[in-house]
């Protein structure tokens, strides 16, 4: 394989890994929110990237968000709420961790 081909292959692998990491991050965060709903005794619901976290969306209240903050911090070492950010959607959380 020539130099250019090798570079293209490495680049494709890198992009594939990034897509895979992003997918994994998306899945993990959606699973986390589903777990919190269960912990809080709230009904199950479909959660998408575009889902709004509060009110008319998933409907997380302050206790749910407090748990989400603690869980994100425990899993990833930091979380948007401690960093004084207020993510509005699941995608905003994914973006906070550079998954956008």
């Amino acid at each position: 394989m020539g130099g250019l081909d090798c570079l293209l292959t490495q680049s494709a692998n890198h992009a594939s890994r990034q897509r895979s990491d992003k997918l994994s991050l998306d899945i993990d965060i959606i699973a986390m929110i589903a777990t919190i709903l269960k912990h809080q005794g709230l009904p199950e619901q479909e959660i998408r990237h575009s889902s709004t976290l509060y009110d008319e969306g998933i409907g997380l209240d302050s206790l749910c968000v407090a748990e989400l903050s603690a869980m994100l911090e425990k899993t990833y070492g930091r979380d948007p709420y401690t960093s004084k950010q207020l993510p509005m959607t699941v995608q905003d959380i994914v973006d906070f961790y550079g998954g956008g």
Binding site: Q40, S62, A66, M71
Partner: protein, 459 residues
């Protein structure tokens, strides 16, 4: 005062074992002889305030009497402190001589603890017994919910709290607290006044304590609920070899579940839980098998030696024989003008019972709602597979604090199964009280067998 109790025991039971430890056995006469010998040595050095930073041992007990014979203040320094903390404490207390097993420089004149033993038997001069009406004992509070304070007691006040009982020849008390802890001093005083035997352990581990119960035919044990929860696993295996007749629980709130488990394991033992505070002394012992205090204690007359009151959800006590003062903070008043001491223990009244719900300083503020750790722990400790739990507040950017839970799982249980059961049980709690962070841990940090609860201690 304390020395006169030793001479009283000496007159009646000179050869009776006073101290039993892994290194040997000492009669009342042996300790008396050693105390005189050490007192001679102290007389030559002549310090006004002495400290001991050494393990619980017959030498330390002889030193307690020796210092009192000279009317000297004796400070018992916590073994858990670092060298730097010991140095700072000795300086704060203006100690002139420390008897220690440490090779480190502690910042004042030091006498190696080993030399106490060497001096035993070499009686030269009579110490100044009787010249001093009172001697003081200085202790540090446990600091489980705040910075430790230095408290000053007169021996006469400590001894006045002891209930004199009919001496029993084979009453062996296990020293399950350290002597530098108020509860350990109370036990020492109880044994001395009642001419019983005190059993010292090899170390402060629960396994060694249980081994000592078996080896030295221990009949009476007093310790914390946390100690008993740890000990239950060991006690089941050696139950047939034990001669326990009396179990006391103190220093922490007691749950009904623990009282029941101990009663099932030792159906013939008298089980008592006591309420005592380092500042106030021993307040009450309860033996009806129920947690908390009977509400009738609130009706005690003003002539009673210990009175109770509940004010704004906090238990207040008024005792006759509490501490003298905080030595390091003389302006800090523990009691109000009428002598009432705010205990810091929050309570609720349910039926005929005053139940403890937690320390004021440990209250968790979840979005403006107050959560008491003991109420959460109480819902979880009796679940199958749960060995120990600790509930505490953790800072959270959304609601200020959340309820966090450290969970120790019993041997043979799948941690995830127990965690799921804990989460299920938490659904019965109000939402603000449910732990939002559950951590599976192998052990919980303790301080003198009390669960450490300050967040700084947990890190």
């Amino acid at each position: 005062m304390i020395y006169s109790k030793l001479t009283a025991a000496l007159q009646n039971y000179p050869d009776k074992p006073f101290i039993i430890s892994p290194s040997g056995q000492w009669s009342y006469a042996d300790i008396h002889r050693n105390a005189w010998s050490i007192a001679n040595k102290l007389g030559r050095i002549n310090p006004s305030r002495i400290a001991a930073y050494m393990p619980d041992s017959p030498g330390l007990i002889a030193l307690v009497f020796s210092a009192a014979m000279h009317g000297r203040s004796l400070a018992l320094i916590n073994r858990e402190l670092s060298t730097g903390q010991v140095r700072a404490t000795l300086k704060k207390l203006r100690v002139q001589l420390v008897i220690s097993d440490s090779d480190e420089n502690l910042g004042c004149e030091q006498l190696p603890a080993g030399e106490l033993a060497e001096s035993a038997g070499a009686v030269e001069l009579a110490p100044q017994v009787g010249k001093f009406a009172e001697a003081e004992l200085i202790l540090l509070t446990s600091g489980t919910s705040g910075a430790p304070k230095c408290i000053r007691y007169l021996w006469s006040d400590l001894l006045a709290q002891v209930v004199k009982q009919t001496p029993s020849d084979d009453e062996h008390w296990l020293l399950a607290y350290r002597l530098n802890h108020f509860a350990g001093v109370q036990m020492f005083c109880h044994v001395l006044v009642n001419h019983s035997t005190l059993v010292l352990t090899e170390s402060s581990s629960v396994a060694d304590a249980v081994a000592a119960m078996v080896e030295y035919r221990v009949t009476h044990v007093s310790s914390t609920p946390t100690f008993w929860r740890f000990a239950l696993a060991f006690l089941v295996d050696v139950r047939s070899q034990l001669q326990l007749r009396h179990i006391t629980l103190g220093s922490e709130a007691v749950s009904e579940d623990l009282l029941r488990r101990l009663q099932e394991l030792f159906p013939c033992a008298r089980i008592v839980h006591i309420y005592a505070l380092t500042e106030a002394g021993s307040c009450i012992s309860v033996s009806d098998g129920k947690p908390g205090l009977p509400i009738a204690v609130l009706q005690r007359p003003t002539s009673a030696p210990v009175q109770f009151r509940v004010k704004a959800g906090e238990l207040l006590v008024k005792t006759r024989h509490g501490m003298t003062d905080y030595l390091d903070q003389p302006k800090l008043q523990a009691r109000d003008a009428q002598g009432w001491l705010a205990t810091g223990d929050l309570v609720k009244i349910e039926g005929e019972r005053i139940l403890f719900i937690g320390r004021r300083s440990e209250t968790i503020n979840v979005g403006g709602v107050k959560v008491h750790p003991l109420e959460v722990e109480g819902a979880l400790t009796s679940l199958p597979g749960v060995k120990l739990v600790r509930v505490y507040g953790r800072d959270n950017p959304v609601v200020g604090q959340i309820v966090a839970l450290d969970l120790v799982v019993d041997e043979g249980w799948e941690p995830k199964t127990v965690e799921a059961a804990v989460r299920e049980a938490c659904l019965s709690l109000p939402r603000h009280s449910r732990p939002l962070s559950i951590n599976l841990v192998n052990a919980l940090k303790t301080n003198n067998f009390k669960l450490a609860r300050r967040e700084a201690e947990l890190l």
